[in-house]
């Protein structure tokens, strides 16, 4: 019994003491907090960093993240560990990590189109503003509009014309809700095209559908189509990126065919969870820029794999580009979301 009483008193005393000292320390705390932030940025990185990749191993998002991680290790002199958390076009990882540990040692590697389209289709209720964007560090070589060799059109304009003359007869294979769908939507809305849009699965499946004759045209990344174009089985009408690629200058952009809005740029980006120290964000951005712009090994790797020319933005530009892309997608969100049925 005595022990119990003693314990209760001791606890009460301890609580009182901590409250008193706590009050007095509030002001001091604020001052030390900002100093601590600056200190932390100075010392960063002092332990291994983790990149969470939102898409599966073997894909282009994963590959770009890993190349970057490998070269960052040498630059930052700390291990950069890459892990994949996959599912639902990256939304699972983004939801899990946006409010995660923001001490500057966990970052999210993703592709920006996935993020924008997830928000526009309603799969996630947030966009890039839920994170601290660190850097857009690469752009994909471009989704191309592809048809078979024997098709009677050679430019995108001819193709859209043909669809207007045979409304609802030309089958365009896309993945609903994805970037190929958005492109098809823009062609219809702004270009007046009258395709019959059919779902044909992801990139590889769409290619099979085109080659196998099940659809008349499709939209797929250049890297998937390259071999068939070379062999002469397919031809590309246009690419969907906003400017002609430096590594593939012969492919006209869709924009050039007259539809100003017809652009879908897939960029690769690094994001930090909300609340990460801005000084650390700047430091990481600087390190990434250095690698992308100056490191010859990086240039060789991305060119070989994916026809990418090295390209990266600083933090402010990153935010601007992300914002532009988000708005671009959100313009079409009413065609991307589904109407909730009333019970």
């Amino acid at each position: 019994m005595k022990f119990k009483k003693f314990a209760v008193c001791a606890c009460a005393l301890a609580m009182a003491a901590s409250m008193v000292t706590g009050c007095g320390n509030k002001e001091k705390k604020a001052a030390t907090a900002s100093k601590a932030a600056a200190n932390a940025a100075e010392k960063w990185p002092s332990k291994p960093i983790t990149f969470i990749v939102t898409h599966g191993a073997g894909g282009d998002t994963d590959y770009n993240a890993r190349v970057l991680a490998r070269l960052l290790e040498k630059e930052l002199k700390q291990p950069v560990v890459v892990n994949n958390v996959t599912g639902a076009n990256g939304s699972i990882a983004m939801t899990q990590y946006k409010d995660g540990k923001n001490d500057g040692y966990t970052f999210i590697a993703t592709n920006t189109v996935a993020m924008a389209s997830n928000e526009a289709t309603g799969i996630t209720k947030f966009g890039y503003t839920a994170f601290e964007p660190v850097c857009i560090y690469g752009k994909q070589c471009g989704e191309n509009i592809l048809v078979r060799k024997d098709a009677p059109y050679n430019t995108l304009k001819e193709f859209i014309e043909a669809s207007k003359q045979n409304p609802g007869k030309l089958k365009l294979g896309i993945a609903m809700g994805g970037s190929s769908y958005v492109a098809a939507l823009i062609m219809e809305q702004k270009g007046g095209a009258k395709f019959a849009v059919v779902d044909a699965g992801d990139g590889g499946d769409r290619m099979t559908a085109l080659i196998g004759g099940h659809v008349d045209a499709t939209i797929a990344p250049y890297t998937l189509a390259k071999e068939y174009i070379e062999k002469g089985q397919l031809k590309t009408l246009a690419t969907l990126i906003s400017e002609r690629s430096k590594t593939l200058p012969n492919i006209p952009t869709a924009k050039e065919s007259g539809i100003e809005d017809l652009t879908v740029d897939t960029w690769y980006g690094i994001l930090a969870p909300k609340g990460t120290n801005p000084a650390i964000v700047e430091k990481l951005n600087a390190a990434i820029l250095k690698i992308v712009k100056e490191n010859p090994e990086y240039k060789a790797e991305v060119e070989k794999y994916d026809f990418q020319a090295p390209w990266a933005l600083n933090v402010a530009d990153t935010k601007t580009y992300l914002d532009k892309q988000r708005n671009h997608f959100m313009d079409y969100s009413k065609y991307l979301t589904s109407a909730k049925k009333k019970k």
Partner: protein
């Protein structure tokens, strides 16, 4: 064949299919291009409907069979039935506890507790050996954690051992 068991199963399944159909009513209709009569709600409704029909069949079948041969009521109460299967409940409990605490305690600690507990539960009376259970628990928990986290890049939760 346990006719009463079938009846209970049939009722549970029927209730589940009703719940499923109810939720299926709520599935949104896609407003964009390429829409058709068959939308994302159609197929689930078909499945739900089929399951409902089948579970009703099961219920009716077991009712008919029960009428034909009235079963003797087995002696013993519900409490005894549960006691009889207590290792099963203990196993479920252990698994639940294991997964629930994995994030907080971390993979290593929760695994150690789980393995130790599970071995004890599964050991027949007379064969219970706390020492071996303990050794196996510690060795495998640590071993597997390090192999998978350090070499194979699986993000097992570190929990309380985070700063090791």
């Amino acid at each position: 064949m346990s006719k009463k068991g079938d009846l209970i199963a049939g009722i549970i399944l029927a209730l589940f299919s009703v719940f499923y159909l109810y939720e299926a009513m709520d599935i949104a209709v896609f407003a964009g291009m390429g829409k058709s009569v068959v939308d994302s709600g159609t197929v689930p409704k078909v499945w739900g409907g089929c399951l409902l029909v089948l579970s009703l069949w099961l219920i009716i079948r077991s009712l008919i069979a029960m009428k034909k041969n009235p079963e003797q009521k087995k002696g013993g109460s519900l409490v005894e039935a549960i006691k009889d299967k207590r290792e099963v409940w203990e196993t479920f409990g252990l698994l639940f506890f294991y997964i629930a605490t994995m994030d907080f305690l971390g993979f290593v600690i929760s695994s150690m507790i789980y393995i130790f507990g599970q071995i004890i539960v599964l050991s027949p009376p007379g064969k219970v050996n706390y020492k071996i259970a303990g050794i196996l628990a510690v060795v495998f928990s640590f071993g597997i954690y390090f192999v998978f986290v350090d070499y194979l890049m699986v993000l097992l939760p570190p929990g309380l051992l985070e700063d090791l």
